[in-house]
């Protein structure tokens, strides 16, 4: 059950009334989030209500609720009061007697006049009625500010120390306009957009209603038995780096590379961020069958080379597709699967000063890209956030690959692979850490 306290200040206006079934007392978090997204509600309210009873008035309050014909589920009816909200069937309300609170489903509340604005009689057993709010694991807004400022400070220090490494693009990056990663990959100066290129991202899906992607052509498919809608954030973040808009609304800096590409969203990881070889291969099969020129995979496991992934990579190259995958984040462990397959392009992560990130795996590495404190899109209502990992480095390479693919119809499959290597900026680190160097845009 979501906490009664919001993770950020409550919105001043009440949320629009939600559809009934989606906000039932027993609804799972995924259903509540999807319902909130469907009604374009960014108030962080779930649509359910928390009724807090006055001290000593719990029984009286429950009697009053039963008199309103509310079907009640009580935690005392479960062993050790271990009751998951999703286990209460079609109950209209769920009671937590130890804390004197009842959770009331949206429809049940609406039909009985239970709302945060309802007037309570002075002798009512109810202390207060409040909306239930979502809570999230990430402090996304704080992460964005902290990450972006840290990155620009690092670039400033680096430019000051090296003296001769500064160019106008790098200096401009400090003054907003685009992320540090795009600056280092020379993306802002590129005249390419990825137009005509199909770029697939196989991940946790995407927030298909995110305003930054309005008007974009998006093809999507789920391979995990859940809707494509991203309730995790990882997929939306990776798609943002690879394909995000050239000019996001407001003061948001540019964070995406192939802003003109056609986006193929393959949900091969569930909303919990996990999947299986089978689901990943199904997504790879789909992307290749749809002739996606670039396929980005920020996922994997610490496993040896898998014949299936190698075969998939070979099939991709034979059909003019390039698969790019994250090396993994096990602090210097060998590159994981699928990136360790010889037919898949493995990506390591770099910090803003272009040193290899300490978490980045090593060994079989083709190239390196920005992966520390990367700002990009995340699902609504937060919209943008910062993450770190080889997962973030990989879509930088995928985006640049799409820009290169646009320059010539001959740059497909193995030819595109070789072009990325030949155009990389060399770095003073072993190839086992950074491959051929830092990926560069055309």
């Amino acid at each position: 059950m979501a906490s009664k306290k919001p993770s950020r200040p409550a919105a001043p206006a009440p949320a629009p009334r939600p559809a009934a079934a989606a906000t039932a007392a027993a609804s799972g978090i995924d259903a509540l989030l999807l319902a909130a997204l469907a009604r374009n509600d960014d108030s962080l309210q779930t649509g359910r209500y928390l009724v807090t009873f006055k001290d000593g008035a719990l029984d009286e309050g429950l009697q009053a609720m039963k008199a309103q014909h509310l079907r009640m589920a009580d935690a005392r009816d479960f062993s050790d009061q271990a009751m998951a909200v999703e286990d209460v069937g079609d109950a209209d309300a769920v009671v937590f007697p130890e804390i004197g609170v009842a959770l009331v489903g949206g429809d049940a509340a609406m039909s009985r006049g239970i709302s945060a604005s309802a007037e309570l009689a002075s002798d009512s057993a109810i202390e207060v009625i409040e909306p239930e709010y979502f809570v999230f694991a990430d402090g996304a807004v704080d992460d964005y500010l902290r990450g972006f400022l840290r990155a620009t400070e690092t670039i400033a220090r680096d430019l000051g120390q090296t003296g001769g490494d500064a160019d106008q693009d790098e200096i401009d990056a400090k003054v907003l306009g685009h992320t540090w990663g795009l600056a280092r990959c020379k993306v802002p100066a590129s005249s390419r957009s990825g137009a005509g290129i199909r770029l697939a991202v196989l991940d946790t899906g995407m927030d298909l209603g995110h305003p930054d992607y309005a008007g974009r052509i998006i093809v999507s498919q789920s391979f995990v038995g859940q809707p494509v809608q991203d309730l995790h954030s990882h997929g939306t973040h990776c798609i943002g780096t690879a394909c995000g808009p050239k000019a996001p609304a407001g003061a948001t800096p540019r964070y995406g590379i192939a802003f003109g590409s056609r986006i193929y969203v393959g949900k091969v990881l569930s909303n919990s961020g996990s999947g299986s070889t089978a689901s990943v291969l199904a997504g790879m099969n789909w992307a290749i069958a749809n002739q996606c020129h670039v396929i980005s995979m920020s996922l994997g496991s610490q496993a040896p080379v898998q014949a299936a992934y190698s075969a998939a990579g070979a099939a991709a190259l034979a059909k003019g597709c390039l698969i790019v995958a994250a090396a993994g984040n096990d602090y210097g462990a060998p590159t994981g699967a699928p990136a360790n397959s010889p037919t898949i392009f493995a990506v390591a992560s770099l910090d803003p000063n272009l040193a290899p990130s300490n978490f980045s795996n090593q060994g079989k590495i083709e190239i390196a890209a920005p992966g520390r404190d990367v700002f990009s899109s995340v699902p609504r209502p937060t919209r943008h956030g910062t993450k770190s990992g080889t997962s973030m480095a990989t879509p930088h390479v995928a985006g640049c690959a799409a820009l290169w693919a646009q320059t010539s119809t001959g740059l497909r499959g193995s030819a595109l692979w070789n072009k990325l290597l030949a155009s990389a900026r060399p770095l003073p680190y072993p190839a086992s850490r950074v491959g051929r160097g830092l990926v560069q845009a055309p």
């Binding site: 694991a137 991940d203 946790t204 995790h232 990882h234 091969v268 990881l269 961020g273 996990s274 999947g275 299986s276 070889t277 089978a278 689901s279 990943v280 291969l281 199904a282 790879m284 099969n285 290749i288 069958a289 920020s298 996922l299 994997g300 496991s301 496993a303 898998q306 014949a307 299936a308 075969a311 998939a312 099939a315 059909k319 994250a326 993994g328 984040n329 096990d330 992560s349 990130s357 978490f359 992966g371 520390r372 993450k387 770190s388 990992g389 080889t390 997962s391 973030m392």
Partner: protein, 79 residues
């Protein structure tokens, strides 16, 4: 008591068409779940003992267990 079934990833070596290999695997006790034509791969279910036998079928390059995949180390940051 029957051995517990699991999912297996069958990579084909191209020596026989994928549908023919799927039929052969079915005859050898496999339940074909998914055919990935663009990759030359079959996802099947069966026991570990059966999987050992499938390795010897003509057209099979590899038989691997369907394993877990995720976005990175637990805890997410870095991801």
């Amino acid at each position: 008591m029957m051995a517990k079934d699991a999912n297996w990833v069958i990579t084909c070596n191209g020596q026989r068409p994928l549908p023919a290999l799927a039929k052969a695997l079915t005859g050898a006790g496999a339940q074909v779940q998914t055919r990935l034509d663009a990759l030359g791969i079959l996802i099947v279910s069966g026991s570990a003992a059966q999987a050992e036998n499938w390795r010897r079928l003509p057209g099979v390059a590899a038989v691997e267990a369907d394993a877990g995949v995720d976005i990175g180390p637990p805890g997410g940051e870095p991801s």
